[in-house]
Amino acid sequence: MKYRFKLYKGDEIKFIGHLDLLVAFQRVLKRAGMPIAYSQGFNPHQLVAFASPLSLGLTSTAEYGDFTLKEDLDAEFVMEKMNEHMPDGLKITSLVKLADGVKNTMSSLERAEYELYFDNTVTPEDIKANLENFMERKEILTMKKTKKGINETDIRPDIFWAKDISTEDAAAVEIQVSSGSIRNLKGETFAEAFCNHMGKEYNKYAIKCVRTEMLMKKGEDEFVPLNYGVER
């Protein structure tokens, strides 16, 4: 049976990278005593896959992925068991049995949403004054790391919307951007470009970035969370 999970990754565990997260998750399945399904071949491994890597240091309220069990167990039960064995800071917030023929999370993923919390060198007024005209730009050139090296890329087509979610004393924006194997924009890259636009220093280690949603396409131009309408 295939399951799709939605996972919360909090501050407690944000300093582990993507591969370590995968291993930690696999150990949870083992400790929870789940009938884990393995791949065939020379070096069998647990059938667990995440939608998209999350950079070290980021937290998330919506990491998605799929795993396979050898038996058909109640999703509610599996989720409860797994959560009993999660390391601090990890929690499955939703688990569904996957309907046949659903594409895996990695290839379904098209967009992601992030919340960016700036350090105190950026004020709520800065956001108010700049976000709109930033979004009005036709082109936003940034240096982006790709497989081929560091390139200058226009990231404007990858930004679908940006909202000012600042509170009285903290500057913050929420964004929806491309995510996945075809086009991808990291929340941090947006933050850097926006800081440049505002004429502020991009304080890489002080800006807090939270991934809040991962979306796939439904029909012509609707985007829904990765666990929407996939249940068996």
């Binding site: 370590d20 291993v23 696999q26 400790r31 020379f42 069998p44 800071g89």
Partner: protein, 616 residues
């Protein structure tokens, strides 16, 4: 909110997860609910320390006490050290993320000499005066255990207590007494004096040393009426009832060994004469196979690991080895568990076993040949013959293996050029063995990796009196081996010669070396066991600055009647036995192992283990 260090710092260092704790099975206690706070300090980087079985055992052993909170501290890597010093953040414990400056104990495990500067550095980072004489009632007591604690004299000026033996034996009594003294408002000094009644604890401050003109020890005398003249190590006698954790800390980042580690026995029956572990952990005390299986079951369940490692000194010597191996295979056969089997004797059974549990393609066979000729192997009492090795290789090649690893040592006592060339010859014979297989049955090219370490004479071994080669000697000898190797299938590597020389100095050092260590630390040495950070020039300078000599400690042969810096400590093996063993070594005579015939080394006095097994 969770961490001693701000995110901004954590994000700028390599592997920040080293510093935040919260691993699976980490013990959580409210620090204000306990009487005793114990910092278990491992003087190396997180990934190394977390792979150490002793840490896992002692951590859960101490934390099973409600009145004690044992927390872990590792040496911050150099990038983090710089950040901590810059931001003035003191060394903290992973569990509570609180500074350790006011803990009750700081317990270091000393596994290798080259970690000593990290001990000093950790004290300094914690804001605790390094020298014992400068510490006050507010500072923790510094206690050191592990194999190097048996001769911890180089650290004598820094350490309060050296713990000689196995942690399960004394810690309960020590902590009870500590709690009582603390409640009664007594001083730490009073506590230390009260500890003098115990075996297994050596406290340097209660002994005075005088030296002869030539630098050797003239006298080593207790200066307190309760201080023992001979301090005997303490050992567990019943391995089946001794505490073993049901859980293991499971790191959230990759460490050196990500696996469940099972202990089969302590000690080793073999008595290889160069091997300190073979003497200081005597006698052999085994667990029953069913106990080990029970340990395995629990640990696998609570860790989620996919690998089990059987760690003991010579795994094949475990009496119930077949039973255990089959039991493990049976238990975990459907769970994709791999079994790692270090130090196995190669025979049909073990090869079958390895085929079942490991991927033949990737794994290589390991032989600790230690020396290149039979004569020299007899000298060191290494009970493996060339035929054993060649036959083992033949079996393995037939079974599909084609990678062989060989371990040797350079600079063993009585070594000649022939012995050195023997390293090359033996390696080549293995290659030739491979070519005896018909060509069409040799799918892949054979490789023989011969690696040599440099011999370091260690206390409590028959070679404790011997001169170590200089690092120049080691280098020259390595070249002799290298030049003798003609076949390209043989790869030869050898250990850092200068580092081995420093190990040699510290291994048999005396308390005058405290000054040397301090100076070396002052010059900036840390992580000296890491070849890329080891800086021999600084060590040389420290020798110069402190007036000590490498030659005196490392390259000098001692006479049997010289007072050695560790003579006041007994590992249960008599000195007369060691002398006898050394004489036999020089005559290239071997000694049977403990199961073939007891040689009366003295360790029977502990009242347990192989010495008291019924001979069948």
């Amino acid at each position: 909110m969770y961490n001693a260090l701000p995110d901004e710092i954590l994000l700028q260092v390599e592997k920040p997860a080293r510093y935040v704790g919260r691993e699976v099975n980490m013990v959580k206690k409210n620090p204000s609910d306990v009487d005793i706070r114990f910092a278990f300090c491992f003087p190396d980087v997180y990934e190394v320390g977390m792979s150490h079985l002793g840490l896992q055992i002692l951590y859960f052993f101490l934390n099973r006490r409600e009145d004690t909170y044992c927390e872990r501290v590792f040496a911050p890597w150099v990038d983090m050290e710089a950040k901590m010093r810059e931001a003035n953040i003191p060394l903290f414990a992973l569990e509570s993320q609180q500074p350790i400056k006011n803990f009750d104990f700081m317990g270091f495990t000393l596994q290798y000499e080259m970690s000593y500067t990290n001990v000093l550095n950790m004290l300094d980072l914690a804001g605790i005066p390094m020298f014992r004489k400068d510490r006050t009632e507010e500072d923790p007591l510094i206690i050191c255990g592990g194999s190097c604690a048996y001769n911890g004299e180089p650290l004598a000026d820094f350490v309060d207590i050296f713990y000689l033996g196995e942690g399960e034996v004394l810690y309960d009594d020590m902590l009870e007494l500590y709690k009582q003294f603390k409640k009664e408002g007594k001083t730490k000094q009073e506590y230390l004096e009260a500890l003098l009644k115990f075996d297994g604890l050596y406290m340097p401050q209660f002994y005075d040393v005088e030296y002869n003109e030539d630098g050797t020890i003239k006298s080593f005398e207790p200066n307190h009426p309760d201080a023992k003249r001979l301090i005997k190590k303490v050992v567990v006698t019943d391995m089946d009832s001794v505490f073993f954790p049901e859980k293991q800390l499971v790191p959230l980042i990759e460490v050196v060994h990500d696996r469940v580690t099972l202990e089969l026995f302590r000690g080793c029956i073999r008595g290889c004469r160069f091997c300190q572990a073979g003497f200081i952990y005597r006698p052999v005390r085994e667990k029953k196979a069913c106990t080990v299986l029970e340990n395995a079951r629990k640990l696998m369940e609570t860790s989620g690991h996919e690998e089990i490692s059987l760690t003991s000194l010579s795994t094949s010597d475990f009496t119930e080895f077949e039973e255990l191996a089959c039991g493990l295979l049976d238990e975990f056969k459907d769970q994709q568990v791999s079994l790692s089997l270090p130090s196995l004797r190669i025979d049909n059974f073990s090869l079958d076993l390895m085929k079942k549990v490991q991927e033949v393609r990737k794994s290589s066979l390991t032989f600790a040949a230690e020396a290149g000729t039979q004569r020299l192997r007899n000298v060191i009492n290494k009970n493996i013959s060339e035929d054993d090795i060649l036959n083992g290789c033949k079996l393995a090649f037939d079974g599909g293996w084609e990678k062989v690893k060989l371990y040797f040592m350079l600079g063993l006592p009585t070594e000649t050029e022939e012995d050195l060339k023997g390293i090359a010859h033996l390696s080549e014979k293995i290659v030739e063995k491979y070519f005896e297989i018909p060509k069409d049955q040799r799918p892949r090219p054979v490789t023989v990796n011969a690696s040599a370490s440099c011999f370091v004479p260690k206390p409590f071994t028959p070679f404790q009196w011997d001169a170590q080669d200089t690092y120049e000697d080691f280098g020259r000898k390595a070249l002799i081996v290298k030049d003798e190797i003609k076949r390209r299938q043989v790869r030869f590597t050898y250990h850092n010669t200068m580092m081995s020389s420093m190990e040699g100095v510290l291994a048999r050092g005396d308390r005058r070396q405290s000054a040397l260590l301090y100076r070396v630390w002052e010059l900036g040495c840390r992580f000296d066991g890491w070849s890329d950070l080891f800086d021999f020039k600084k060590w040389q300078q420290a020798f110069e600055d402190t007036g000590l000599s490498i030659e005196f400690y490392a390259n000098r042969e001692r006479s049997y009647d010289e007072i050695l810096p560790w003579d006041h400590i007994s590992v249960g093996v008599n000195k007369s036995f060691l002398i006898n063993e050394r004489e036999k070594a020089l005559a290239a005579e071997t000694t049977p192992n403990c199961r073939q015939k007891c040689s009366g080394c003295g360790a029977a006095s502990f009242g347990g283990g192989v010495c008291h097994e019924v001979q069948i």
